[in-house]
Amino acid sequence: MEIKELFTVSIYTENHIGLLNRISAIFQRRHINIESLNTSVSEIEGVSRFTILVKMTEKEVKKIIGQIEKQVEVIKAFYHTDDQTIYQESCLFKIKSDLLFEERQIQNIIKDSNARIVTVNKVFFVLEKSGRRNEIELLHRELSVFGIMQFVRSGRIAVTKDEMKITEMLAAFNN
């Protein structure tokens, strides 16, 4: 039995309606749970980038990459381990404003965690933190002692240490 690892799957695609459905169906067919998913523009105009975090064996992820790349509107798909990428997640905490003034400790937590206050009003303030999953989890643990009104965490975004060479690839498609 091969060991399951965390892989960051990065997919460069055309911006086409329905492609998310097409890609997620490939994971669904093999009964693979997606840990997180992010879609955005990429460094190339008109080209989208999917960042998908999955836990699976390398043997399996290779097959998945092949089946993703086979989709007409997928330009290229990659998979990387954590040490091959620079990655971050982002999160938001909504917390009662009273606490900011009453609990001295909160101010220290904010300072020590490099979190940023996005907005403050009479009722609540919003704290933003970007970082690794464990940093966010630590902050969540520390703040939950005081009570969190709302919490949300984004999917992972990642850039790779290696070059992606998508522009060259697009040029090759055109020839």
Partner: protein, 580 residues
């Protein structure tokens, strides 16, 4: 020089074709004509009516065949595509019309059949509102199409349809679905058609690396016990001659998957038969004895490999493949030769040494002798009273000279057909391989006959599958399609019954069928029909069928509880194939 000038002139004419103001629905028909479509299969309905109105106007240029169910339209389009190599076209309305296409689309996807399906959709302002006959067909068809797209503006029609045909037929072919809202069909716009010759993110044929060819050639040249297994990729790439040259130069015995059948004549001395669950004894057993396995345009389906952990473990594997996702998917290869089979086989041929493998080939012949004694003899020349499916095939072979295109359905009769039919012409074995769609054969035979009217097309169908699309007799009647239909009737869902007998202690759960009078049904559609239940009548009945210029229905009542052997039981290794 003159040729070049002509080319540029042609291009200019294409590009400078004047724009014309026409409706979206007329544009659909004009696009189909520009793609060389001569026949489409379909069923009208509310959301596709504007296109049907145009089809009425263009009926002299494009022949629309009204099937009796949308599923029949897709299978007919598949039959058309499989025998001709051209793109099959099916059309349906929104909602149930569209969902009825899904089985055929899934079948075309798994068997790499080029097909374009066009569906009508509710008007764009109604999308998402649960309107009458609205269904999210783009969402539903996503996992079973090579590509799909919804058009909501008429202006998109030419480009999207051009792209649809290009994607369906290029690279590894497959089905494409285009959904067009009703308002886009009515909308007028300036029409201009331009064929698609490339899509930015899509590389249909990967580059063949010289290094992989060298490596493969070296491996083949030094092999002592090499074996080829080819699949439909050879047919799709039109690489039959190249494969034959390779076999004959290297003297390598070659076996085929079910969809690869007919690429090389069944009588070729190096053709060692079919691999897989009900394939021939020798190629299955010797898969686990060969030293180099050369897979060409096949995908190591589980019905071919049996238990993967015990499949050709001793052999080095060379995989000629157009679809990179198939490499290492099921079987780990030593050398992958990516690219189009015709191209790569042409390139490798000069690198291969002229050889013979007499003693190795003899091993196949020896095992064939065992299979003949234990299985084939009794199938083809039975001594018992009841008729066998095998002897029907044997008689068809004799009378057709192995020149007919054989369309089979799914089940026991399919395995018998693929095992015993003589094939001397490529693209002659039309069957549902990957999906195993019962009901495929009757409509597929209609499409095949229409695409190749000069060929004899014989549908061989079981009594179960026949009744899944039996309504297409109406299409045959209306279109006067001269297909020959042979129903091998054992009053059972035979293959399931065989499994129940072998693996479920003969508990025949819902496999026995009380069948209607098939001859009377055929006659109801004014199709000549005959029933045979005794051996003495078989020859004359098949002769009558072959001589008929029109459609003909022949029911052969065969032994109720015959089994298909050899058999690789599910989960067993190919070398553990059972002869009884």
């Amino acid at each position: 020089m003159i040729m070049e000038e002509l080319q540029t002139m042609k291009k200019k004419i294409y590009l400078e074709q004047p724009k014309e103001r026409i409706s979206g629905s007329e544009a659909v028909v004009r696009c189909l004509l520009a793609e060389g479509v001569d026949i489409i299969y379909g069923y009208p309905g509310g959301a596709i009516m504007p296109v049907y109105d145009e089809l009425y106007k263009y009926q002299n240029e494009i022949h629309h065949v009204l099937t009796r169910h949308e599923q029949g339209a897709t299978h007919a389009a598949q039959g058309y595509a499989r025998i001709s190599g051209k793109v099959g076209v099916a059309m349906a309305t929104s909602g149930p019309g569209a969902t009825n296409l899904i089985t055929g689309i899934a079948d075309a996807q798994i068997d790499s059949t080029p097909m374009v399906c066009i569906t009508g959709q509710v008007a764009s302002h109604l999308l998402g509102s649960d309107a009458f006959q609205e269904t999210d067909i783009v969402g539903i068809s996503t996992p079973v199409t090579k590509w799909n797209h919804q058009i909501t503006n008429a202006t998109e029609i030419p480009e999207v349809i051009a792209k649809a045909f290009y994607i369906a037929r290029s690279g590894r072919p497959g089905p494409v679905l285009i959904d067009i809202t009703k308002d886009a069909q009515f909308e007028e716009f300036d029409f201009q058609y331009k064929k698609c010759d490339g899509v930015r993110s899509y590389l249909p044929v990967p580059k063949t690396e010289k290094a992989s060819l060298d490596q493969a050639a070296e491996m083949i040249n030094s092999a002592k016990k090499p074996m080829i297994v080819w699949g439909q990729g050879v047919i799709l790439a039109h690489a039959e001659e190249e494969l034959k040259s390779m076999m004959e130069k290297t003297g390598i015995p070659a076996a085929w998957t079910i969809l690869g059948a007919s690429a090389i004549s069944t009588s070729h001395p190096l053709n060692i038969g079919m691999v897989g669950m009900h394939g021939n004894y020798a190629p299955n057993v010797l898969t686990n004895d060969c030293d180099v396995l050369i897979a060409i345009g096949m995908r190591f389906d589980d019905r071919v490999t049996g238990k993967l952990d015990e499949y050709a473990k001793q052999a080095k594997i060379i995989h000629f493949e157009i679809d990179p996702a198939e490499v290492d998917k099921n079987v780990k290869t030593n050398v992958a030769v990516l690219g189009d089979a015709k191209e790569s086989l042409t390139q490798i041929l000069p690198l291969l040494e002229t050889k013979t493998h007499h003693s190795w080939l003899k091993k196949f012949k020896d095992l064939y002798a065992i299979e003949f004694e234990k299985v084939i003899k009794n199938d083809l020349h039975p001594t018992k009273d009841g008729l066998t499916m095998g002897e029907v095939l044997n008689e068809i072979n004799t009378q057709s000279g192995g020149k007919a295109a054989i369309v089979s359905d799914v089940g026991q009769h399919q395995m018998i057909t693929c095992r015993y039919a003589d094939f001397n012409v490529s693209k002659s074995n039309i069957t549902s391989g990957g999906l195993g769609t019962m009901g495929f054969a009757l409509p597929a035979a209609i499409g095949a006959k229409m695409a190749a009217p000069n060929r004899e097309v014989i549908a061989i169908i079981g009594d179960g599958g026949y009744q899944m699309t039996i309504q297409e007799l109406g299409t045959i009647f209306q279109q006067k399609t001269a297909v020959k239909i042979v129903v091998l009737n054992n009053d059972f869902l035979g293959m399931v019954r065989q499994w129940q007998q072998l693996f479920f202690d003969k508990r025949y759960a819902s496999t026995e069928m009380t069948n209607p009078d098939f001859v009377a049904i055929a006659k109801g559609y004014q199709i000549q029909a005959r029933r045979v239940s005794e051996r003495k009548d078989l020859g004359s009945a098949i002769e009558e069928m072959m001589k008929s210029q029109d459609a003909y229905f022949l029911e052969v009542c065969v032994e109720k509880e015959d089994n298909v052997f050899p058999m690789v039981p599910s989960g067993a290794s190919v070398s553990d194939i059972r002869l009884e």
